[in-house]
């Protein structure tokens, strides 16, 4: 049997199912992203709005609740954390408030700092502090305030330091300048002192050094020392001046030696030897000396010597006058007899007026009354009577010679400025004419002021300072017027004036009212008693 046809497989394969495109998932994710993105934007917006609001509120809080500088500094002194005075940092509210408060505190600390700088500047002006202390105070203030501020706001701390350092720079410069001046003055003083000592040092060398070379060496050493000290000032003009002064003193020292017996028998011989170049041990020194200058200075010095002799003679004459006055004092006080005193005066070469000579030998006149003497004394103080006038008054017998001598001493020491000041004292304190009775209180006060004035003049003169008599008198009078005694007296006088005025009487400081006067003026009995009682208080002489 032939083969029957069988079914052959066609080889079908499983269908190729394509992979699913999950577009819905992609779009779902996209949707979610869109929603979250929108929500994020809105949330961000809302947060920003909330933050802005917190910042505004913080700034307002900061402006309305600003701790004072004193509170902050006190907290710092007590070791507290100054942050406790301010809102908490790290929040929009806190940071905004602290920013405002920091800026405000910085401004206040700057103002305080500038005030401190002014104080330091003033203290520098009056010499209360030196450069070091000024630097310490400025640094202490800058660091202290800066650190305090930095705890609150580092930015404001830095700004404060920058600002205050600029302001402090002038004060630093001022302190530096002042210190430099003091230092310069010290250097100059050293140099001047050294130069001033030069004649002594050089003359010692001239006296004790016999070797010409060593002598010259010593001169050179002195020159170098003077130059070094003067150079330290870094002032060419000063160095030049000082070295000229040194040269002048060196020449003087040489001249002193040349005119001394150590060099020649007499100055003329010394000059001759120098002219003939017979220098002796000065041989080396003279190599560096300009001989023409030496001769010129020698001649000038000779002139000075002559002049000083003349001045000395005048001084001696003046001393003699004072000696005569002292001798007269001794005569009039009975320490020595008139004849002894007269001989001593004659020995001084002073010729006395005949009447004075007579009074010394035969006894003095009674002289002027105390009141008249007071008036003459006042005239002498005011410069209206001089020594010659007083001598004439003695000759005419208007005063005793003792009185004349007392007033002449005053007249000799008188000076117009002092006279004007004394007149002012009398006028200001209400001292009347010497002949007017009473006014003991005023006279006593005026006398106290005058005594102070004389004392002040002596002290000032002894210090070599100028003396302003009128200004000094004003100061003393001011002191007297502020005294309780004066104030009380013025009060009594005012009361007295008021009582008189109420009774229709004009106050006259020179008049003393009696009961009869007041009765005649129509003042009642009680009021008369009160006025007289008050007058006693006013006129009462001090104990």
């Amino acid at each position: 049997m032939a083969d029957l046809p069988r079914y052959q497989s066609s080889g079908l394969m499983p269908a190729d199912i394509q992979r699913l495109d999950l577009a819905n998932v992609k779009e779902g994710l996209n949707l979610t992203k869109t929603i979250t993105s929108s929500l994020d934007r809105m949330s961000d917006f809302a947060f920003k709005e909330a933050a802005n609001k917190a910042v505004r509120e913080g700034e307002q809080y900061g402006a309305e609740n600003q701790p004072t500088v004193d509170q902050v500094l006190l907290a710092k002194e007590q070791g507290q954390d100054i942050n406790s005075l301010f809102p908490k940092p790290g929040t929009y509210f806190g940071d905004a408030a602290r920013k405002i408060q920091g800026a405000q505190l910085r401004l206040e600390l700057e103002a305080k700092g500038r005030e401190e700088l002014r104080n330091i500047s003033s203290a520098l002006d009056v010499g209360q502090i030196d450069l070091k202390e000024a630097q310490l105070r400025i640094k202490g203030m800058t660091d202290g305030y800066g650190r305090t501020l930095a705890q609150l706001s580092p930015e404001d701390g830095l700004r404060f330091r920058a600002s205050i350092n600029v302001a402090a720079n002038d004060t630093y410069n001022k302190a530096n300048e002042k210190q430099n001046k003091i230092y310069q003055a010290g250097l100059r003083s050293n140099a001047e002192r050294l130069i001033a000592d030069t004649p002594t040092l050089l003359s010692d060398s001239l006296r004790y050094e016999a070797n010409p070379t060593l002598l010259n060496e010593k001169f050179n050493i002195q020159y170098q020392r003077a130059f070094d000290v003067a150079s330290a000032t870094m002032d060419p003009a000063f160095v030049d001046d000082q070295m000229k002064a040194f040269e002048s003193k060196r020449l003087n020292a040489i001249i002193d030696y040349v005119i001394s017996p150590d060099f020649a028998a007499n100055p003329v011989e010394g000059f001759r030897k120098i002219t003939n170049k017979d220098y002796g041990k000065l041989s080396e020194v003279m190599k560096t000396v300009d001989i023409d200058k030496l001769k010129k200075q020698y001649i000038e010095r000779s002139g000075d010597i002559e002049k000083s002799f003349t001045n000395a003679s005048k001084v001696n004459a003046s001393i003699n006058v004072d000696k005569v006055a002292n001798i007269k004092d001794d005569i009039y006080s009975g320490k020595i007899s008139g004849s002894v005193g007269y001989k001593r005066i004659q020995a001084l070469g002073i010729t006395l007026p005949e009447s004075e000579r007579q009074s010394m030998l035969n006894g003095d006149l009674a002289g002027a009354t105390p009141q008249l003497f007071g008036r003459y004394e006042s005239m002498v103080e005011n410069g209206r009577l001089g020594e010659e006038d007083l001598d004439n008054m003695g000759v005419r017998g208007e005063m005793s010679w003792k009185q004349v001598n007392d007033l002449k001493k005053k007249a000799r020491n008188n000076d117009p400025a002092m006279s004007a000041a004394i007149s002012f004292v009398n006028a200001d304190l209400g001292v009347p004419d010497p002949l007017t009775p009473g006014f003991g209180r005023e006279r006593r006060m005026a006398a106290e002021v005058k005594a102070h004035l004389y004392s002040a003049r002596e002290v000032t003169r002894s210090q070599g300072l100028p003396f302003n008599a009128m200004e000094t008198a004003r100061e003393y009078i001011k002191g007297v017027r502020q005294g309780s005694e004066f104030v009380q007296h013025e009060s009594e006088v005012d009361t007295f004036k008021t009582r008189l005025k109420n009774s229709g009487i004009t106050y006259d400081p020179l008049r003393i009212y009696t009961d009869e006067d007041l009765k005649a003026a129509g003042v009642g009995k009680y009021e008369r008693g009160q006025i007289l009682k008050q007058q006693d208080k006013v006129r009462k002489e001090p104990q």
């Binding site: 032939a2 497989s9 499983p14 269908a15 779009e27 779902g28």
Partner: protein, 152 residues
């Protein structure tokens, strides 16, 4: 100026909506295309199934005719056995081809549905984006501020 900013924000929001809608339309077309493609493939597999049936019938007919020509019964004996074997093998392949057709059709339907869902979501995203933009614009506009009104 603020009004211009608001107008631009509104236009932008409208753009977002339009973008969403356009995406939806795109996915709609994609879904339709997927359906057509899958239907085409399903019909192809059905055609294969029909070809299997045709070949089975042809083999069986040939076996019957040869049996009768050989002097044996066409519907009995070995001829009948061969036909039974052909039917079994061909039936399996027929069922396989129909399965492929059904799978392709179902897959296309699923993909089309996914595209339709994606289109809906894209449209929604457009609306949300527009709403967000309008909200931000409103918020920013409210912050603009102006000088306080003074009473006449």
């Amino acid at each position: 100026m603020a009004e211009v900013a608001v107008a631009m924000a509104v236009v932008s929001a409208f753009g977002s909506i339009q973008e969403g809608k356009a995406k939806k339309d795109y996915y709609k077309v994609q879904a339709a295309q997927t359906r057509v493609e899958s239907e085409r493939k399903a019909i192809q597999y059905q055609f294969q199934a029909n070809q299997v049936l045709e070949r089975v019938n042809a083999n069986n007919a040939s076996a019957i005719s040869r049996a009768f020509a050989g002097g044996t019964q066409g519907f009995e004996g070995s001829a009948a056995l061969i036909q039974a074997v052909n039917n079994t093998k061909g039936g399996k392949e027929f069922a396989f081809a129909l399965g492929n057709s059904d799978g392709v059709r179902r897959s296309g339907l699923i993909q089309a549905t996914l595209y339709e869902n994606a289109g809906d979501m894209a449209e929604k995203a457009g609306y949300f984006d527009a709403a967000g933009k309008l909200s931000m614009a409103a918020g920013q506009y409210s912050k603009t501020g102006s000088a306080p009104k003074t009473e006449a």
